[in-house]
C-alpha cells in the first residue's frame, strides 16, 4: 500500500473526530443508512424465510471455501479452455503490472472500468495514470468521485457523501460544456453523454466480478446502470479482476447469492442486469471482447484463509448491509476508515489486506452491538472476528497458541505494555474473591476520591463513581436486619 494510505489510516481517530463534527455529513449518512435499512427490511418481511435463505447462502460460500484450491483449478481449466487468459497476482503491484503489460501490448491509452472494489484495492486508476494510461470510472457514483479526486465512502453507494449541488459543481468544473444544474435527471444525462464517448473509444474494458462459477467458467456481474455491460461488451479486450475467494462451485449457487445480494445491498428484489459472461466473443459474434483476461488477486486473502478462525471473512459477497446497519459507520462515514473497504467488513478484512498494526483502530471501533452479524446475508460472525483481531493484535505468536506459520502480519504489534499490565492487574483482583471484595469495600468507602477527569469518558459524561454501598454491603445490612 502507498505511504499516503498508511498515513490516512493512522488517523482513523482524527478522521472520525472530524466527521462527527460535520453535521452535513452525519445527516447524509444517517438519512442514507435509514433509507437502506428500511429498504432491506421490506425485502425480508419474513425472518424465518431470511434465515433459511441465509443458511443456504452461508453454506454455498463455506463449501466453496472448503474446496478453494480445487475450485480455483477447475475454474482456471474451464476458463483456459474457453480462451480466457488467467493471471495470478500475489500483491497489488503484481496486478498493476499485469494491467500495464496488457495495456502496452494493446497500445491502449484509455480503459473504461465498471465498478470494482478490487480495482480500488490495488489503486488501479492512480497506477495507470502514473504510466500515462487513463482509466475511467464509468459507474456514475465512482465517476463523480474520480472527477473530484475523492474516494468511495460506501461499497455500494460510493458517492453517498456528495450532495446534488456538489455533483453539479464537479460536473460543471470537469466536463467540457456541462451547464451548472442540480437537476438530478440532467446531471445523470450529462454523465451518460460524457461517458458514451469513452465507451466508444476505449480499447480495454475493466470489470470486477460478483461471482465466478467453477463448473462453467462464467463470470457473473450484477448491476443497475449498464456500464458494466458496456465495459464488457464494447471494447476489444476485457480484463476482469477479482479476489481468489469469489469462486463458487455451481451455476445454481448463483441464484441464492444473487437473491441475498440485491436484497441486502439496496433492498431491491433484483437488479436491472445479471450479466453472465462465459469466455470471449465466439466465432461469428459481432460484439463482446475478442480477448478476455481474468486477474486473480491474493493481496492478503490467503492469510485470512490459512487460519480457520478468520476464514469466514472470505465468505463476504460485498453487499454492504453491515455498514448500513453499523452505528459507528453511520456516524463517522466511510472515508474515516482510510481503507478500501470501510465499516464492519472493512474492519475484519483490512487487517489481512494490510496488517494489524496499520489497521489497529478498526477492530476496536465497534461497540460489538452485533447489528452487522445479524444482517450479514452469508452469516459471517463479524463481532467474533473483531474480537479475534483485537486478540491477535495484542498477542505475539509466542504469547498465543498460534502456530508460527499461521502468524498474522503485524501480530502482537498492537500490544501496549500498560494495557497488558492493566488486564493482568484486573485479573489478579477479579480471580481472587478476597482481593475483589477488598476492592469493592474500598471503592465504596473511598468513592469520594473518584477523579473528576477520567480520560475520554468524562468528555461527554459525568465521572464513573462507585456507589457508597456495594450490593454486598446492602445484602449484608439486610441480613443483619433480618436476624
Amino acid at each position: 500500500m502507498s505511504g499516503a494510505m498508511a498515513i490516512k489510516l493512522a488517523d482513523f481517530q482524527a478522521n472520525a473526530r472530524a466527521a462527527l463534527k460535520d453535521p452535513k455529513l452525519r445527516d447524509s449518512f444517517t438519512g442514507a443508512m435509514d433509507f437502506l435499512i428500511d429498504r432491506r427490511a421490506s425485502q425480508f418481511p419474513d425472518l424465518e424465510a431470511f434465515e433459511r435463505l441465509r443458511k443456504v447462502g452461508e453454506a454455498v460460500r463455506q463449501q466453496a471455501l472448503s474446496k478453494l484450491p480445487e475450485l480455483l483449478e477447475q475454474l482456471e481449466n474451464k476458463l483456459t479452455s474457453l480462451g480466457v487468459q488467467v493471471h495470478w497476482a500475489e500483491t497489488a503491484a503484481d496486478a498493476n503490472r499485469i494491467f500495464l503489460d496488457l495495456a502496452r501490448r494493446h497500445d491502449a491509452s484509455l480503459m473504461v472500468k465498471g465498478k470494482s472494489m478490487v480495482s480500488e484495492e490495488i489503486e488501479l486508476n492512480h497506477e495507470m495514470a502514473a504510466q500515462g494510461i487513463e482509466c475511467v470510472e464509468t459507474d456514475m457514483g465512482e465517476y463523480i468521485l474520480q472527477l473530484d479526486g475523492d474516494r468511495p465512502s460506501h461499497i455500494i453507494m460510493p458517492a453517498i457523501h456528495k450532495t446534488k449541488q456538489d455533483v453539479a459543481e464537479i460536473f460543471h468544473e470537469h466536463i467540457k460544456g456541462a451547464p451548472l444544474t442540480d437537476d438530478v435527471n440532467e446531471l445523470i444525462a450529462i454523465g451518460r453523454r460524457a461517458l458514451r464517448d469513452k465507451f466508444s473509444a476505449a480499447r480495454i474494458g475493466v470489470s470486477g466480478v460478483n461471482f465466478m462459477v467453477a463448473e462453467t467458467g462464467s463470470l457473473v456481474l450484477v448491476e443497475n446502470e449498464g456500464n458494466g455491460r458496456l465495459c464488457t461488451s464494447v471494447p476489444d479486450v476485457h480484463i476482469a479482476i477479482t479476489g481468489i475467494e469469489k469462486v463458487i462451485e455451481k451455476l445454481e449457487h448463483v441464484a441464492p447469492l444473487f437473491a441475498l445480494l440485491t436484497r441486502s445491498a439496496t433492498g431491491q428484489a433484483i437488479t436491472t442486469y445479471l450479466n453472465v459472461i462465459t469466455g470471449p466473443r465466439r466465432a461469428g459474434e459481432k460484439d463482446g471482447p475478442r480477448e478476455m483476461h481474468l486477474i486473480l488477486l491474493d493481496n492478503g486473502r490467503t492469510q485470512a484463509y490459512r487460519e480457520e478462525r478468520f476464514r469466514a471473512t472470505l465468505q463476504c459477497i460485498r453487499c454492504g448491509a453491515c455498514m448500513n446497519h453499523c452505528p459507528v459507520y453511520t456516524r463517522v462515514g466511510g472515508l474515516s476508515y482510510g481503507t478500501t473497504y470501510p465499516g464492519p467488513i472493512g474492519a475484519i478484512i483490512s487487517p489481512h489486506l494490510q496488517n494489524l498494526k496499520e489497521t489497529r483502530h478498526l477492530p476496536t471501533a465497534s461497540s460489538l452491538c452485533g447489528a452487522c452479524g445479524e444482517v450479514c446475508p452469508v452469516g459471517i460472525p463479524i463481532p467474533d472476528m473483531l474480537m479475534r483481531l483485537r486478540e491477535a493484535g495484542r498477542h505475539s505468536v509466542a504469547q498465543s497458541a498460534t502456530p508460527p506459520q499461521q502468524a498474522l502480519r503485524g501480530q502482537g504489534e498492537v500490544r501496549q505494555l500498560a494495557e497488558a499490565l492493566a488486564w493482568k492487574a484486573w485479573r489478579l483482583l477479579y480471580s481472587h474473591p478476597a482481593l475483589y471484595r477488598l476492592l469493592v469495600w474500598f471503592a465504596a468507602r473511598l468513592n469520594w476520591l473518584t477523579p473528576p477527569w477520567q480520560g475520554g469518558w468524562t468528555q461527554a459524561r459525568a465521572p464513573l463513581k462507585p456507589a457508597s454501598k456495594s450490593l454486598r454491603d446492602l445484602l449484608a445490612e439486610r441480613q443483619r436486619k433480618q436476624n
Binding site: 481517530q13 472520525a16 473526530r17 462527527l20 452505528p327 459507528v328 456516524r331 463517522v332 483502530h361 476496536t364 471501533a365 465497534s366 461497540s367 460489538l368 452491538c369 452485533g370 447489528a371 445479524e374 474480537m387 483481531l389 483485537r390 486478540e391 493484535g393 495484542r394 497458541a401 494495557e419 488486564w423 493482568k424 484486573w426 485479573r427 477479579y430 480471580s431 474473591p433 475483589y436 471484595r437 469493592v440 471503592a443 465504596a444 480520560g455 475520554g456 469518558w457 468524562t458 468528555q459 461527554a460 459524561r461 459525568a462 465521572p463 464513573l464 462507585p466 456507589a467 454501598k469 456495594s470 450490593l471 454486598r472 454491603d473 446492602l474 445484602l475 449484608a476 439486610r478 441480613q479
Partner: protein, 264 residues
C-alpha cells in the same frame, strides 16, 4: 435470600420453593447496587429462594472483548465451582448473561474438565427478565395503576445474543398503568460497548447522545433497561447534560410499582 449457597436442594424442596443463583455482575455490585437489590427482592416476591455466591466477581467480558481472553479465562475459572446445585443462574444483564451463556465455554475449549463445568453453567444461565416472565410466577396485577410512560432501552446483547427483547416488553405490558413508548432507532446500540467507550470516546458519546435524544423526544416519564452497563453510560451523560431524568433497571421499576400498589 441466603448470602452463601448454604441451603440444600432438600431444604428448598421442603419449603416448596424454587431456588436460583444470582450472578449480580461487577457493574451492579460496585456501581448500581440498588438494581441488584431490587432484582433479588422481585425474585423473592415471586416465591423464589435466591442464593448469592459471595465469591462471585465478574463475568470476564471486559478482558474478553478487548482481546485478552486468557485473562478472562482465569477470572471465569475462579468462579466455575460457585454454582454446584442444578439451579438456574439468574443474571440481571443480557450482556453479562451472554458472556456466561455463549462465551464461557469458548474460554475453555482446550480444557475438558473446565469446559464441562462452563457448559453446565452456560446451560443454566438465564437472563433476569426471561426468568421473571417465563419461569417465575410473579403477580403484577396488584402493582400501582398510576399512569407512567416508559421508554425501554434493550441492550444489544439482550436483543441479539440472549433474545430477551420481548421479555422486557412483555413485563412492562403486564404492569398496570405502564405505557411502553417507542423511540426512534430503538434497535440501535446506546454506544457504551465497554472498553469501546474509552478507546473511541467521541464515537461512543455520539451514539449515547443520539440514543438519549431519541428517548427524550418521546416525552416519556421514565427510562428503563435490563442492563446496567448501558444505564451507566446513559445516566452519566444525562448527569453531564444536567438532565434530571435517570434510567433505572427494570427490576427497580417493577419493585417500585409493586410497592406503590401495596400502598394504594
Amino acid at each position: 435470600m441466603s448470602p452463601t449457597p448454604a441451603s440444600t436442594p432438600a431444604s428448598a424442596a421442603r419449603d416448596g420453593k424454587r431456588n436460583v443463583y444470582f450472578f449480580a455482575t461487577c457493574v451492579i455490585d460496585m456501581f448500581a447496587p440498588e438494581a441488584g437489590f431490587d432484582a433479588i427482592d422481585v425474585l423473592e416476591r415471586s416465591g423464589v429462594q435466591v442464593h448469592f455466591p459471595v465469591r462471585q466477581t465478574c463475568c470476564g467480558q471486559p478482558a474478553y472483548t478487548t482481546g485478552f481472553p486468557e485473562e478472562a479465562a482465569k477470572v471465569a475459572a475462579a468462579q466455575l465451582d460457585l454454582f454446584p446445585e442444578p439451579w438456574p443462574i439468574v443474571v440481571p444483564s443480557g450482556s453479562c448473561g451472554g458472556m456466561l451463556k455463549h462465551h464461557w465455554p469458548k474460554l475453555f475449549a482446550n480444557d475438558p474438565v473446565k469446559l464441562a463445568k462452563a457448559e453446565a453453567i452456560s446451560a443454566r444461565t438465564i437472563e433476569f427478565t426471561d426468568y421473571l416472565l417465563n419461569v417465575a410466577d410473579l403477580k403484577l396485577d396488584s402493582a400501582s395503576r398510576r399512569p407512567l410512560r416508559v421508554a425501554l432501552h434493550t441492550a444489544c446483547s439482550a436483543r441479539r445474543e440472549m433474545g430477551t427483547l420481548e421479555c422486557g416488553r412483555e413485563l412492562l405490558s403486564r404492569l398496570p398503568g405502564v405505557e411502553l413508548v417507542e423511540h426512534a432507532h430503538e434497535s440501535e446500540c446506546c454506544g457504551f460497548g465497554g472498553t469501546f467507550s474509552v478507546k473511541h470516546p467521541e464515537i461512543s458519546a455520539a451514539m449515547t447522545s443520539d440514543k438519549l435524544d431519541a428517548i427524550r423526544a418521546t416525552d416519556c416519564d421514565a427510562m428503563v433497561s435490563a442492563d446496567c452497563g448501558c444505564l451507566l453510560s446513559l445516566n452519566l451523560m444525562l448527569k453531564k447534560r444536567r438532565d434530571l431524568m435517570r434510567g433505572q433497571h427494570i427490576a427497580s421499576l417493577i419493585r417500585e410499582r409493586l410497592d406503590g400498589g401495596e400502598a394504594q
